[in-house]
Amino acid sequence: MRAIGIILAGGNNLKMQELSNKRAIAAMPVAGSYRAIDFALSSMSNSHVQKVAVLTQFNSRSLNEHLSSSKWWDFGRKQGGLFVFTPTVTKDNGFWYRGTADAIAQNLTFLKNSHEPYVVIANGDCVYKLDYNKVLEQHVEKKADITVVTTVLDPEEDATRFGVVNVDSEGRITEFEEKPLVSKSNTISTGIYVIRRRLLIELIEEAEREDRYDFVKDILIRYKDNKKIYAYEMDEYWSNISTVDAYYSTNMDFLDKDIRTYFFKEYPDVYSRIDDCPPAKYNPGSCVKNSLISSGCILNGTVENSILFKKVYVGNNVTIKNSIILNDVHIGDNVVIENCVVESRDSIKPNSQYIGEPGKVKIVLEKEARYEM
């Protein structure tokens, strides 16, 4: 592809509550066997983008660990490959990334040293599959300056946590409001952009001179009348996981056969780091209904309408319903868990109960017990 990729994985917000205590959102486990960033990275790889930079700064240990080898996404290359850029102190700069535009500004050399004419910018906290070539095709065809990938939310979904756009009949974006109090439309930006590399360098340098640091506010919205910003509407599944509710419902979406088929069986595949877990084991007493079970799990109890990530041990006489159990959790005997998200590497003591409510899931953090058992 004639583009390089930038994945903005720096974000951390409070809407993930305790789940973002120990990792960037891009490193959140999703759909049993993946991490959020796998979807953007796999789309880059499957679109034949040869060179990708991941920009990250908050809590990046978990993300760095996940990206420690680039071979899983086929980025182990001599030409191009995968680069992880965290802020560094230089002669000219002593700041953290003060915003998305600043993150790119601090890595402008990466852009300047590349020769591909276009840049695909994506974020690390969305679940989707997209051929960026199609976006680029439309970008070229419309002679756009910037193309924003948009999607239409269902009427009942809350658009106010996204960038809300209005599009004219030509597909040009006429209005763009970031996280408005009241949304005037349910067409939103997915945070995926295509832009000419030289124009991006220009705009970023200009923003930096004016001490402006945010890509959406200071570039997209500021230039919306001045530059030709077009929308590329995406019809396929797209979901952002950056609130607890959205995280929970995005995971639960995978219990739907069509969504599973779309992501797991249809071309192209989504890739992830390989963990070498043995297949899941169902012992006498286990009873699993409408659930996703990942490799390395050992089951002795009941699991319904739930998602078990890798290496979860479920003890005897346990009941798990409508819950998400993250990687490497040990659940003792006679435990009841309903409507919960159980944080990875937790140890749940025997005979305990964790009950959340439908629509208001409980986050379970039990770090200490592992060393008592």
Binding site: V288, K289, S295
Partner: protein
């Protein structure tokens, strides 16, 4: 200068004809085991876990699956700048071009491969056993005894010793005699087909016996070295070691993995077994599904019932299907309301709906009674079974069968349908 203390040579060229249609188009080491693994994963994982990072894999029979599985060795961390895994097929020479005619002949034809690493020791492995073994401990034993050759051995029950190659040792563990499948065994130490050679000794012996037709380690090299007075020692291994050379033993050892605490435990963090994982999504168990006492691989979709079975990655068990005591390998689909009893179904098969497999009385197989036994239904890879057929016990099916192949919709116990050339 390149120098490796010990390199491994893994013999993976055999067909394993006693696995019947399972190996009609793949080599035995490429047969899947325990859901997601292939048999060769066990020796390869043992190598890297033992610190042996240079492995030559000798292939000959149907190597495609093996080649794609091994690739450049990424799953085992055997993608190395120096060493790593190399697949070594037979090759044409300016004079006598030949296939690998025996285990030692195969190694002899690859002397140059070994020479380039300047090894002190060479580990010879087979690709047909399930076990976890630290070859470094065996090497320590070899060094401590100043041995020229060390053979790995395992104690077997005295009453079964007549099926094995037996070694007789003195009290220092030095081997004084060998017996191949003895009627009246004098010892119960069986050879595991794993050898450590001091490189110089191996090289000399291979050159000395280079004209021996079908040159074999057990039959020629080791007796030759023993006779000329080399120090040949028996290292005793006491862990789990299972030969999966017959359909019955293959089925049994898979089933043993299901035990509550299996003797051979894949779930330990220590001594992991690695494999090429090309299916990564989680498995889905539907609302009406029943799964008990089973092992299920990644990306499988279970809508029916699975009891006491091993289900490979990407397998689909449709609504109303009931699987019992069976091994279903990667990518196979079982149609709705089909009953499967005690079957081994290889990769990428399509089994129709409302079929019944493994029914009726046990009758010895009329074609190869010593291979297709134990009441098993054995189905080779890429086979197709049409809807609504019934299949008896001790049968073999291979290839795309149609309803015309089943008189009155039935394949009686002891019969076969082989529709691919290589199956015969």
């Amino acid at each position: 200068m390149i120098r490796k203390e010990m390199i491994a040579m893994l013999l993976a060229g055999g067909q394993g004809s006693r696995l019947g249609v399972l190996t009609s188009s793949i080599a035995k080491p490429a047969v899947t085991f325990g859901g997601k693994y292939r048999i060769i994963d066990f020796p390869l994982s043992n190598c890297i876990n033992s610190g042996v990072d240079t492995v030559g894999v000798l292939t000959q029979y149907q190597p495609l699956r093996l080649n794609t599985h091994i690739g450049i060795g990424i799953p085992w961390d055997l993608d190395r700048n120096v060493g790593g895994v190399s697949v070594l097929p037979p090759y044409e020479k300016s004079t006598n071009s030949e296939w690998y005619t025996g285990t030692a002949n195969a190694i002899y034809q690859n002397l140059k491969y070994m020479e380039q690493f300047n090894p002190e020791y060479v580990l010879i492995l087979g690709g047909d056993h399930i076990y976890k073994m630290d070859y470094e401990v065996m090497l320590d034993f070899h060094k401590a005894n100043k041995a020229d050759i060390t053979m790995a051995t395992i104690p077997v029950p005295m009453e079964e010793a007549h099926r094995f190659g037996i070694v007789i040792t003195d009290d220092t563990r030095r081997i004084v005699d060998f017996e191949e499948k003895p009627k009246n065994p004098r010892s119960n130490l069986a050879s595991m087909g794993i050898y450590i050679f001091t490189w110089k000794v191996l090289r000399e012996a291979l050159l000395a016996l280079s004209d021996q037709p079908g040159c074999d380690f057990g039959k020629h090299i080791i007796p030759y070295c023993h006779k000329r007075g080399d120090r040949v020692f028996a290292y005793e291994f006491n862990g789990y070691w299972k030969d999966v050379g017959t359909l019955s033993s293959y089925w049994e050892s898979n089933m043993e993995l299901i035990d509550l605490i299996p003797e051979f435990n894949l779930y330990e963090e220590f001594w992991k077994v690695y494999t090429k994982a090309d299916v990564i999504p989680p498995q889905y168990i539907a609302a009406d599904a029943v799964v008990e006492r089973s092992i299920i691989g990644e990306g499988a979709e279970i809508y029916g019932e699975v009891h006491n079975s091993i289900i490979g990655p990407g397998v689909v068990i449709s609504e109303g299907a009931v699987i019992r005591d069976s091994i279903i390998m990667k990518g196979t689909e079982i149609g709705h309301d089909t009953k499967v009893n005690k079957a081994i179904i290889a990769e990428n098969c399509v089994i129709g709906w409302e079929c019944e497999l493994g029914i009726g009385e046990e009758v010895p197989n009329e074609w190869k009674p010593d291979i297709y036994d134990g009441g098993l239904v054995t189905i080779g890879e890429n086979s197709i079974i049409p809807n609504r057929v019934r299949v008896g016990k001790n049968v073999a099916i291979s290839g795309g069968t149609t309803i015309d192949d089943y008189p009155h919709g039935l394949l009686e116990s002891g019969q076969n349908i082989i529709k691919v050339g290589d199956g015969r």
